[in-house]
Amino acid sequence: MSASPDVLVIDDVDDQRELLRTLFTRAGCDVRTAAGTGAAEPLLVEKAPDIAVVDLLLRGRDDGWRAMDRVRALAPGASIVICSVLDPAQFPAADAHLPKPFTAAQVRRVLDQLKPSR
């Protein structure tokens, strides 16, 4: 595993997606983004990420639970980070939580937390 973890961000809101890209990039990651499960699938197939950051409330009939299923199916080794406006109590089980709004410090903390598993 390389020094710069490969991160896949799945979020339907452009600004949030770009914010996550910026923060993870600044934290030293290689970041790819997708606006939904459909867009994420080819990226997962192309290269399995080390970390998948998944928003729970996605546009249309899509949602984070579906995205997680696809990540687990196509990239079983990837750690999953839930990133949502929902109350953390409602988050499904995952490797790490990143409740919105999040800060750069929280992003770095999540990366530290996931380091031993990678």
Binding site: V13, Q16, L19, V85, F102
Partner: protein, 581 residues
């Protein structure tokens, strides 16, 4: 015989009594018929033409007088004069047609019988007197000789006639008495009939009044189709089932009361309610003991909250419907005879609340996303520290603070929505409430110092552990403390006390502030409620703090209460069940 009775009794009235002129007529006619009998057929002889003709003229004049006299103006007995004068006239006629030997003496029977039929024994006495004069007068006056051998016959005939008169008089007397009796009875009957008639009229008027009031009550009863009105007896057995009850619960009045109310009082009102919602644990949760459930229903029905819409009734289809319940006693005089229950469908209100909470939830999530972007990008800017001027950093700080404040509000709103939807997320763990209260006192210190308000914290030496969501409990105490500081003028104090009472951890927050008016005190924990004082003094806030505090406390099975005196201060008290561990 009374005048009224006589007027009403057929056959006995004065108006029906034969006219004297008519009654005299046969006597006059017989006398006139006697004349040709004497002349043509030689019946008897005319012994004294003057007396005979005088008597005929006498009778004729009497007849004329009897016809002309206005008898209705004359005393009743006055009529007796006519037959008595007629008797004397016949006596004279007798003298003129042969004296004691006259064959026309018998005509005297007519006026004698007439006199005898007049009411009163006096009348028959007058008649007999006149008879004696008519028969014996000629002897005394010398017209007849005492010794002519006819005296015995004359006396005997007179006695027979007198006897006839007496018998007739007695017979008519008794007939008249019976008639009087009949007339009285008939008068009584008429009076009773009249009374019955009057009674019937009064009864009809009363019945009409009753019908009107019945129609009035019925129209109200039938108009109540938005509320289910259920009337019971003292034991809670149903005796009245309103149209609203039919609509809400689906049972026809015939299902409950039977046809024509044959089963009235057989169904218990308690059977309609789901026992667990009445606060009664029932073994099979279907039907509760009616002796237990009735007092509970009465109590809920009289409470201000009317069951808060948490009370469930079961419809005919088994659907559980939330209702508000009101209850009133039914009284007859001083005696309680039963209850009137009014059930209002709470589904609509519940649905509105649910939609509102759902809406608040959705909005909160929708607001969080852009806020999350604002805060994230502001952070990115602030990270470029070296490129920013001090002013720019300060401005961005303001934007961050306000965005965070907005985020806090959204969080509060969402929390309230969750509480009302009954799904408050609590992360319980063992927490020391004394430490939480001390922390609340410390964190408010900078604000309190700026406001010139002293803060004192009294906590027990030993930790006081609760199984609770420490963050939420901290939030609720923070709310109370920051409110207390906000509403206390400079120079005042805020005291936080933690103690233990009856297995509860009790936290009181007391201030020496402006106080809360009694009206406001009741509405205090309503969402967005702002007291008059807060508005008047332009104190910042949106009115969510206390409702959040109360929601947190309630979710922990605790209670919150407030007491206040305007101008003196306010005390908030929260009590949370302490679990020994």
């Amino acid at each position: 015989m009374t005048p009224t009775a006589s007027a009403r009794t057929p056959g006995s009235g004065a108006g029906r009594r034969s006219h004297p002129g008519l009654l005299l007529l046969p006597t006059l006619l017989l006398v006139v018929l006697a004349l040709p009998a004497v002349w043509l057929f030689g019946a008897g002889q005319i012994t004294d033409p003057v007396a005979m003709w005088s008597s005929v003229i006498w009778l004729a004049l009497l007849e004329v007088a009897a016809v002309l006299v206005p008898w209705h103006r004359v005393r009743r007995d006055g009529v007796a004069v006519v037959p008595n004068l007629a008797i004397l006239a016949i006596g004279l006629f007798r003298v003129g047609t042969g004296g004691s030997a006259s064959m026309f003496s018998v005509i005297i029977l007519l006026p004698i019988v007439w006199v005898a039929t007049l009411p009163g024994r006096r009348m028959v006495a007058f008649g007999i007197g006149a008879l004696v004069v008519a028969f014996l007068g000629p002897y005394f006056s010398g017209l007849e000789a005492w010794g002519n051998g006819q005296l015995v016959r004359v006396v005997f005939v007179a006695v027979v006639i007198a006897a006839v008169a007496i018998v007739v008089n007695e017979t008519t007397r008794s007939a008249r008495a019976r008639l009087t009796e009949v007339a009285e009875l008939s008068g009584e009957r008429a009076r009773l009939l009249e009374e019955a008639e009057r009674g019937r009229t009064e009864l009809a008027a009363a019945a009409e009044g009753l019908r009107e009031s019945e129609a009035f009550a019925k129209s109200i009863w039938e108009a109540m189709d938005n509320e289910a009105v259920i009337v019971t007896d003292e034991r809670g057995r149903i005796v009245g089932w309103g149209p609203g009850a039919e609509l809400l619960l689906g049972y026809d009045v015939a299902d409950i009361l039977g046809g024509d109310g044959a089963h009235s009082g057989e169904e218990a009102v308690g059977d309609l309610f789901v026992p667990r919602t009445v606060g009664l644990p029932a073994a099979d949760d279907s039907v509760a003991d009616e002796a237990e459930i009735l007092p509970r229903l009465v109590e809920i029905g009289r409470s201000a909250g009317q069951g808060e819409g948490d009370l469930l009734v079961r419809s005919v289809d088994g659907v559980e419907i939330p209702v508000y319940l009101t209850c009133a006693e039914r009284r007859v005089g001083d005696e309680r005879v039963g209850y009137t229950f009014v059930l209002r469908d709470a589904r609509h209100a519940k649905e509105i609340t649910r939609l509102k909470d759902e809406f608040v939830g959705t909005i909160s999530h929708e607001l969080r996303t852009p806020l999350s972007s604002i805060l994230g990008y502001l952070e990115l800017v602030i990270e470029e520290e070296e490129t920013l001027s001090e002013d720019q950093k300060r401005f961005i700080g303001v934007a961050q603070r306000n965005a965070n404040r907005l985020l806090q509000l959204v969080g509060d709103l969402l929390f309230i929505a969750q509480v009302e939807a009954g799904k408050i997320p609590l992360r319980r763990e063992s927490v020391d409430i004394a430490a939480i209260a001390s922390a609340a006192g410390e964190s408010i210190l900078p604000v309190a110092e700026r406001a010139g308000v002293a803060v004192a914290v009294h906590v027990p030496d030993a930790p006081l552990h609760l199984h609770a969501d420490g963050r939420r409990i901290g939030q609720s105490i923070d709310n109370l403390v920051s409110n207390a500081v906000k509403f206390t003028p400079s120079g005042g104090s805020v005291t936080i006390v933690v103690g233990r009472e009856d297995g509860h951890a009790v936290v009181t927050v007391t201030d020496t502030g402006m106080g809360i008016e009694p009206d406001d005190l009741e509405q205090l924990s309503e969402r967005f409620f702002r007291s008059k004082m807060a508005t008047r003094q332009a104190i910042k806030g949106v009115g969510l703090g206390l409702s959040i505090t109360k929601a947190i406390v309630t979710a922990h099975d605790g209670t919150m209460s407030a007491t206040s005196a305007v101008g003196e201060g306010t005390q908030f008290r929260i009590a949370l069940p302490a679990r020994p561990n």
